[in-house]
Symmetry: C2
Subunit: 246 residues, 2 copies
């Protein structure tokens, strides 16, 4: 099964000023695409940190998706860092410039700062940005996308059909109002019996009570049905009403 990684780039995520929304979106889309996210990293707008993380991730995983740092301002340094990671040169490219010219209409608006967004590493292919013009790009197994959520999501939608994934990872999730400690032994037995299904238990503490969400995951619908039956029988034995969540 293809495994994916994400690299989110930006001081604002690490300072706590902004809460990342892109990883959650990408994780869901990659689960559907059968190329699940197995690792994610967040780094600051720091050239060396971006290069090191990108090289580690692209060597360890089938695909790497980045977000952030491809705008026109001085802190947008992702494209240069990607070029450095791949050891290729970078410059304003005609096809990217043409896209920006069409987007801004008036050539006077295509300032030097905006032209930075047409800087593309050698050998990269462009990723369309239907929202705000400036393209992302794709080089090797790395997909470089914008950090603004609306743009990121549009780019992900255009990129995913190009990814070689597997069957979607299916899951069933149950909300069990029972202490994890009472669930642990029987759930561990089921997990041992279904070696090809991944089982997770995630405790919650709400004002309305506490319990655990129990999730089974597998790309095989028959195995998911069998795992669901085993979990349902377990909840019955525990005397617990555990509705399945959407």
């Amino acid at each position: 099964m293809a495994g994916s990684a994400m690299l989110a780039i930006g001081d604002e995520l690490l300072s706590g000023r902004t809460r990342d929304a892109n990883m959650h979106h990408l994780a869901q889309r990659l689960t559907e695409a059968g190329a699940p996210l197995v690792e994610a990293r967040l780094v600051a707008d720091d050239h060396d940190a971006i290069v090191a993380a990108l090289n580690a991730l692209r060597r360890a995983h089938d695909n790497v998706f980045t977000s952030g740092g491809i705008g026109p301002t001085h802190d947008d340094i992702t494209a240069d860092a990607v070029a450095a990671a791949f050891g290729v040169s970078i410059g304003v490219r005609d096809d990217a410039r043409a896209i920006l010219e069409r987007h801004y209409g008036d050539p006077a608006k295509l300032t030097e700062a905006r032209l930075r967004m047409a800087r593309i590493p050698d050998g990269a292919a462009l990723i369309e940005n239907p929202v705000s013009g400036a393209p992302g790009f794709h080089i090797g197994n790395v997909w470089v996308m914008a950090g603004v959520p609306a743009v990121f999501q549009a780019m992900v939608a255009s990129v995913l059909p190009q990814i070689e994934g597997g069957p979607p990872i299916l899951s069933a999730s149950f909300r069990a109002p029972v202490a994890e400690g009472d669930l642990a032994a029987p759930l561990g037995e089921i997990a041992g019996a279904f070696a090809d299904v991944s089982f997770g238990s995630y405790p919650y503490h709400h004002a309305t009570g506490f319990g655990a969400r129990v999730v089974a995951r597998t790309p095989d619908p028959d195995r998911l049905a069998a795992a669901t039956a085993a979990l349902t029988a377990m909840f019955d034995r525990l005397g617990v009403e555990a509705p399945e969540e959407p």
Copy 2:
């Protein structure tokens, strides 16, 4: 200045079922504590992945904060992975067992599964869990905490006074209804003139319009005031009304 890293552990974050809330919280607290987050990683409930990430992070940063994987179920493997990363043994420890006994009251409730939560790597100190009993722990420069947000936040509150930080990182943020491309050149000049202040520009696209949040960050209140004055003058020159955000 002390630099911190976070390692969030859990399949549920990477599958897109759960959206991480802990990193955002920790980032804000560490900014206040003057030990800012400079890197974060998310890995699955996978022994080798946890060990590798933890060893990389603890060698590169002053402090590493982990979340998740310290409950009673089969997928809670963080404590063993931390012990492996440090090359120390792990077993049920009397002080941790005593905490669980007090929390559960009835000894019959301290099942084998729950007793897993008293497994602590040799040489670690406990982190109090005022919410649900089971302690976190601290070994070397690594602070191991629960993934449930209410518990994570309570543990962070008890841990932070023990961290050697610097002065809080102060920031000023302005919401500028102006295209980033028009902001880029003058903002780049200011960033060049204030080498000791970090400036960021974060575009937004909302139904109500688009623009950029411009943020200045520094631990020095005088420099923040000077940077704020420079940004305000820049917005005036651009003819932009850019209110400061809280």
